[in-house]
């Protein structure tokens, strides 16, 4: 049988880096094929070539045995290739049908389109109301909009880039059900993900990329997540050892924290209450957009609240700014590395000053002690294994994983009493992620309280002592992490989703 898509010798070089080097593999009709690799392994470049966004320097692609060289996405779509991106391109102020029409090459009339959307969404089990505003939809529903948009074009090959990163476990199940139906109808799927457990569940074959080259193939069902991760990284991985948790005294006490969101599409915090103890790692789970950013801003001091709502070691700090809190021992590392946790065009030394100047006494009467600051930056780079030619290099020149190690390291090196981190390993390669988790655990072991906000349930299960879920700006009761199952958490996370389905 001729493969649906045959790739051979694909090479694409950018200045200073070969993104794809002689890459080749095949996808059969009706096959779910996984593309595995760390960040920077060249997965995105490869799918961009298939989707006509990037032209290969050399190599050949064949679709149905015919030469296939799309020079733009429209040509790829016409040949039957559709793609669902990791980041949605939807207009929040338009309806589902209007959004879908905008993305189609020859969109039918709105009424006819709405009917088609209903038909397709019913056929594949993707509940979707064409008349709703996209701004009101959850992340999972927004993804359905993107998927339905692709399905309306009857694709032969569906490319999905990190499709589950914003979904609850229940939503993932729905997605997989859809993918299986598509597969059974003969549609091939190229599936890109970091989540190895999912790949084992859904994919028939996997191709593993490392540094732009194909380093192996496997049948995921016959592998364990660990063996696949080791193929990706190329070395053996160590997993952090969990130590017994003994709650110490309360360090951070949050009572009835309210924070109305200033962003019309943001989430207000409602009555958030919890206590964080010395030595505790509290994991806060939740689907993105349920108040995670707002919780971090309220705790870091970027957004002020009623003074009594937040107490640190007995002192009310709710209306105190970030530097006051840092001096008192409450430090934070936000999710967005470039542009929030770090200033992109500034050097690592300057970025060390960004949060370090108050607590590390890097200024004298307002004058910066640059030598001391540089030493601080170098210490972070050394201790946290940040791969960079030197502290004078710009933050944006670092890879995601290295910059994240720097950002987390910068806070840990300041010996916080309480550290709040949001998505500490988001978009970070497996070895850097393991390193960061280890560092967070070590910090807690030394007696600090650590609050980890994350959407990665496996990560939270691995490092948390206690556990809570943030949903629509409300925090669930904090419970012990031992004995919680992923299914239970998923139900807590998606509680509101169930309501939508019933309505």
């Amino acid at each position: 049988m001729t493969p649906l898509l045959h790739l051979s010798g694909l090479t694409k070089a950018y200045p200073g880096v070969v993104a794809n080097d002689n890459v080749g593999f095949e996808i059969a009709p009706g096959e779910v094929h996984a593309l595995l690799g760390e960040n920077g392994a060249g997965k995105s470049t490869l799918v961009k070539m298939i989707y006509g966004l990037v032209r290969p320097d050399s190599g050949e692609m064949r679709l149905h045995g015919q030469a296939f060289a799309p020079h733009e996405p429209r040509a790829a779509r016409a040949a039957g290739v559709a793609m669902v991106f990791q980041h949605f391109s939807l207009f929040e102020a338009l309806s589902v049908a209007e959004n879908i029409a905008l993305g189609m090459d020859d969109a039918p009339e709105t009424d006819a389109l709405s009917d088609e959307i209903r038909t397709v969404s019913k056929k594949y089990g993707l509940t979707l109301d064409p008349d709703r505003m996209v701004g009101d939809l959850s992340a999972g529903e927004r993804q359905r909009v993107e998927i339905v948009r692709c399905l309306l074009q009857n694709p032969k090959l569906l490319v999905m880039d990190e499709p589950t990163s914003v979904l609850t476990p229940q939503e993932v199940d729905v997605l997989f059900e859809t993918l299986r139906r598509l597969r059974d109808e003969g549609t091939s799927i190229l599936y890109i993900s970091h989540k190895l457990e999912e790949i084992r569940t859904i994919c028939d074959n996997a191709t593993i990329l490392r540094l732009g080259k194909v380093v192996g193939t496997c049948v995921p069902a016959e592998e364990t997540p660990r063996t696949m991760a080791e193929m990706m990284v190329g070395t053996e991985l160590k997993s952090p050892t969990k130590r017994p948790y003994q709650p110490g005294p309360v360090l951070l006490d949050v009572k009835n924290l309210q924070l109305p969101s200033k962003d019309p599409f943001g989430t207000s915090l409602r009555d958030v209450t919890f206590s964080l103890h010395a030595g505790e790692v509290l994991g806060v789970a939740g689907v993105a957009g349920n108040g995670q950013d707002e919780l971090l801003l309220a705790l870091s001091g970027e957004e002020l609240t009623q003074n009594a709502a937040i107490t640190l070691k007995g002192a009310a700090i709710g209306n105190k700014g970030p530097n006051h809190r840092r001096l008192q021992g409450l430090l934070a590392a936000p999710e967005e590395r470039l542009g929030h946790a770090a200033a992109p065009d500034m050097s690592l030394t300057e970025n060390a000053l960004l949060t370090g100047h108050a607590r590390q006494r890097l200024t004298n009467k307002g004058f910066v002690k640059w030598q001391a600051t540089q030493n601080f930056a170098r210490a972070i780079i050394e201790k946290f294994d940040v791969r960079t030619p030197g502290a004078s290099h710009a933050a944006k020149s670092l890879s995601g994983g290295n910059l994240q190690k720097f950002v987390i390291g910068r806070e840990i090196m300041q010996r916080p009493d309480v550290l709040v981190v949001n998505q500490p390993t988001w978009g970070v390669d497996a070895s850097a992620a393991a390193f960061i988790r280890e560092a967070l655990l070590e910090l807690a072991e030394q007696g600090a309280g650590v609050l980890v906000i994350s959407q990665d349930l496996d990560e939270l299960m691995e490092i948390s002592d206690t556990f809570a879920v943030l949903s629509e700006g409300r925090l669930s009761r904090v419970r012990s992490a031992s004995g919680v199952t992923i299914e239970e958490i998923g139900l807590l996370m998606g509680g509101t989703e169930v309501d939508h389905a019933a309505a």
Partner: protein
Amino acid sequence: MLRLEARPEPSRAMVLLTPIIAVVATMIAGGILFAILGNNPFTAIRIIFWDPLFNDMVASYTRPQLLVKATPLILMAIGLSFGFRANVWNIGAEGQFIMGAVVGGGTALALYPLESALVFPLIIIMGGLGGFLWAMIPAILKIRFNANEILVSLMLVYVAAQFLAAMVTGPMKSPVGMGFPVSRNFNEYQSAFNAELLSNTGLHFGVLVMMGVVIVGYIFLTRHIFGFQIRVSGQSARASKFAGVNPHTTVALCLGISGALAGLAGLFEVTGPAGKLSTNFPLGYGFTAIIVAFLGRLHPVGILLAGLLMALTYIGGELAQFQMSIPAAAIQVFQGMLLFFLLGVDILVNFRLRWASTKEAR
């Protein structure tokens, strides 16, 4: 088709060389322009860049003029550069310059003929205050209502110009001016006159203040946490908030500093080189200062050099008008080219040009 591709990290040497390359490119393109207008381009370039400094026939007049012209440009450009680094766009330095002159000069006129050593310090403070308060209008509107400071500060330039006109035709009109819309001449009022400290050098008190501002500006920008916070604010609003910088304070400080420095520049100008308030007093220094700020890479030392260079093109341009009858408009085009080439070279330092095959571009 040509395509721009970001360079990972621009070369530091090129960043420093950019202004020089821009000046040379301006000389070449300007020379072509002058040649098209029927003048010898080499003579024209020599008259603009060389004669004001080294031609004995004119240098005794033009050399002091260099400091006189450069001082207000540099004073204002340094103030503006802080704001520009923090994404606070004060386009109205011209208005703050006028208000500094009106408020400071007006104070002097009100005190006339009181002779006292305190008059000059007082009017300096009033001049700075005038510019500061004028700049606080866009600052407060920005903080309170998120009004765009570019528009508000720019509009206030015209308000200030009208205010100046009202003053010199009304309360500040000279009683001995034979009805002309001008104020009393400050060189007739010893305590308020901003005289040359050394004769025939152009060195007046404002020049000293300007030099002090260059040094203090340099120290604050590179060594003080305030300069750091301003740079962070310009890079990313979220990162600066995370660093504990209050964005409202940044807006108020940046507009306040640039307004006060523009006000000082106006005061020194009106009580010294200009000599009197009149409707002809504003010469567009406040707008040229924007060019000077960027030409100097928003850095105090760079601005010092850029201000002197800009003053040179003004003076040399005037010489070229006299001696070669090159139209004033051509000189303005020449000055405009300087900014154009600076920005152009800037892009090439940060990006590289690549030929993209037409297939891919489609």
